[in-house]
Amino acid sequence: MEKIKLHLKRISKHPFFGFVIFGFVLTLIPIFNNYLPVSFVDSAAKTLIYFIVALGFALLIGYGGLASLGTSSFIAIGTFALYTVMDVLNMPFALAIFIGIILALMVGVVFGFVSLRIEGMYLAIVTLGLSEIMIELFKNFDKFTGGVSGTTFSSFRLFGQSLSTNQTFFIIIIAVVVAMILTYNLINSPTGRALLAAKNSDSAARAMGISVVKYRLIAFMVSTVYAVIGGIFYMAYIKFSMGSTWGLAISLNILAAVVVGGSKSIWGVLIGTFVIFGLDLMVFQSIPLISQGRFANFSFVISGGLIILVIMYYPNGLIGLFKKLSFKLKSKISKRSKGETKS
């Protein structure tokens, strides 16, 4: 018994423990699917998909210090890759992932090479331009993308079996947990440290033997791969994608999610994504006073105000607030337990 307790304690301290528990909590949503409003489940799925994208983007901006506004076009690549491979070519899902990753790597290299010359604001503008070009391309390749009117995905098949939305949700949860674990590994590895070093001081990093070129390319490639995987799951769940919807607005929302939550923490990114994408549809819409009548659009005002407040008081993201709270809680608990031992 003692041994089991010790073992459990050790497992609970493992960094992946939280991620796995989070995954199990999420499974409650598809399990109790019938008791929840449809819009809630859909927006939860969307939030999770955007969370995968935001994780990759956090690596780019939080660790690499590279601002990019091309994220939405990477998601679009993922959606169209899935459509093309499974609906047009009738090939299995694994090939869609493979082709999606290869496309992502190619695009990532292009964006990465741009980032070698330009930094900061200017990089953001150039990536915005590149993504606009890609959106125009999507509009014109109507065989693969459905052109201006967009395309509907017939059904998501895995190993020859067609999956329901609920089953797809489970797969998305697995992808989220895997993405969290891989991100954690990466940011706590020499790669993550090298990215931070290059962000802090380019010359110091190079003097330490870090090839800045290599790591910037890696950062861009990883973030595009995450975005494309997110896009693939978006298409598998939402089943509709239109080239022109993947514009600046979504890129900016993902940027806001990462900044609001805290770009250097996985949980921070989750909180940020929830505030930007999930809060409105999952919480405010289910409150009758806000969602109906005159106040129908009031929820946007609330989330906008929240963003302003967070940026003003917690420049390192909402995760700073949560850390402070947990620290206070812990110190209170330890004080109380000390008092008990004294008395």
Partner: protein
């Protein structure tokens, strides 16, 4: 046509030679890592021994039995130690084999390079002789009639002659460095222009192995530019920098990129401390050890045993270095907000992570108070002796320079004005003039 082929062949040779040299340097880094591995194993097995001994020593058992068990454990531990050392030795032997293989390939290329250098040298010398005779003739003629055109021509020729002599000297100094293994770093006719401004002008000096070499000069003399040229942040317009690594192989630093320089065993610090502010002190040291990691991207992504092991080994090294510099207490702190003296020490510790041969310190005492400066001087001296380092520093604090340096080179406006021991430099009238101004 033949010349074109020659040029292409030379370029390919050059590329391959540098490629092989880089491979060799990487393998050398693996050797350094293995050295760290030995200390790590010692530490790990030592801990295991203590744990096992504690388990046995419950006190209740009768003494003879405990002693017997303890002896058994000691024996087991010793065996383990020998075994792990053997494994590492085996690894080293494998690395050596690889090194000798690559070296034989590279040496062929190297010899062709030296041959080409010799040919160049002969050509330049012939050219010089003809130039000298032309100038002599022209001078004789000039005495007869003062022709402006011919005077201009003469000046041009003379310039070319001087230039050629410099080129010959640059090539010959490589040979000198090759033959003299006591020289660690050699600057030969280094010149760096920024537009019209000559930041470094025809600077040459040698840094010997194991000495502390100081570079001094008034503000704007070009000291930091010299550093940046050595570490390849700037590519000099003229001249060359040669470096003898710890295997006594001569390399021209101009062949390398900035991030390869650390693999040669040269590490630098910066004028204003350049640490990673978001990482703890320990992680900052691991950034310094970046070139010792050999695991690839996917190993890191999946956190496979190899990367875990490397992290453990290098963490023990980091702790060892921190302990040596007396800053072990700060290991988990963020560098932000720590005293400036500690930050300087952290940066110093970071350079020590890769076991370098040459450390370049850019104004180590800037911003320190008197006590901290004295402490720094002590650390520099003791570390030099302990790790067999050569230290090359730029400094404004004359007290520190005179105290620690074996040789000092004074420069002003990019030109060398004096070189010698501290007492010689103090007496030198030119140095006094440069610092205090002429009459």
């Amino acid at each position: 046509m033949k010349r074109l082929i020659d040029i292409i062949r030379h370029a390919i040779n050059q590329f391959l030679r540098i490629y092989y040299t880089k491979r060799l340097l990487k393998l050398n880094k693996k050797k350094v890592f293995n050295e760290n591995e030995i200390t790590f194993k010692n530490y790990q097995i030592g801990q295991k021994r203590e744990r096992l001994l504690n388990k046995v020593d419950t006190g209740d058992l009768n003494k003879e039995e405990t002693i017997k068990k303890q002896k058994e454990i000691e024996k087991k531990i010793e065996n383990e130690l020998v075994e792990s050392k053997n494994i590492i030795k085996q690894k080293n032997i494998e690395i050596e084999q690889k090194i000798s293989k690559i070296k034989s390939k590279r040496d062929i290329l190297q010899s062709s390079l030296i041959k080409k250098m010799d040919i160049d040298l002969n050509r330049l010398k012939e050219k010089n002789q003809s130039l000298e005779s032309v100038i002599r003739d022209a001078k004789l003629e000039n005495k007869k009639d003062d022709n402006v055109q011919s005077i201009d021509l003469l000046a041009e020729k003379e310039n070319e002659l001087v230039h050629n002599i410099k080129k010959i000297d640059i090539i010959e100094s490589r040979k000198k460095v090759e033959q003299n293994s006591n020289i660690h770093l050699s600057l030969s006719h280094l010149t760096m222009n920024f537009g019209g401004l000559k930041a470094v002008d025809d600077l040459s000096f040698n840094v010997k192995k194991g000495e502390i070499f100081g570079l001094i000069g008034p503000n704007g003399a070009g000291k930091t530019t010299v550093f940046n040229c050595i570490t390849q942040f700037y590519k000099p317009n003229e001249g060359n920098i040669y470096y003898n690594d710890n295997n006594n192989e001569t390399n021209s630093l101009l062949d390398f990129k900035v991030h390869d320089i650390i693999n040669l065993g040269i590490v630098r610090t910066f004028q204003n401390v350049e640490l990673v502010w978001e990482l703890s002190v320990l992680d900052n040291l691991l950034v310094g050890a970046h070139s010792l990691y050999s695991s690839g991207f996917f190993t890191q992504l999946l956190h496979l045993p190899k990367i875990r092991y490397e992290e453990k080994v290098l963490k023990t090294r980091a702790l060892e270095v921190l302990k040596k510099l007396d800053i072990l207490v700060y290991k988990d702190a963020l560098p932000y907000g720590l005293p400036y003296g500690v930050l300087k020490k952290i940066e110093f510790a970071r350079t020590l992570m890769t076991k370098p041969n040459l450390i370049i310190l850019d104004e180590p005492a800037a911003g320190l108070n008197d006590a901290e400066t004295k402490d720094l001087a002590q650390t520099i001296l003791s570390l030099r002796d302990e790790f067999n380092l050569t230290i090359f520093l730029v400094e404004h604090d004359m007290g520190l320079v005179m105290e620690v340096c074996d040789t000092i080179c004074a420069i002003s406006f990019g030109k060398k004005i004096a070189i010698g021991s501290p007492s010689e430099i103090q007496k030198d009238p030119k140095v006094q003039e440069a610092y205090l101004g002429g009459e």
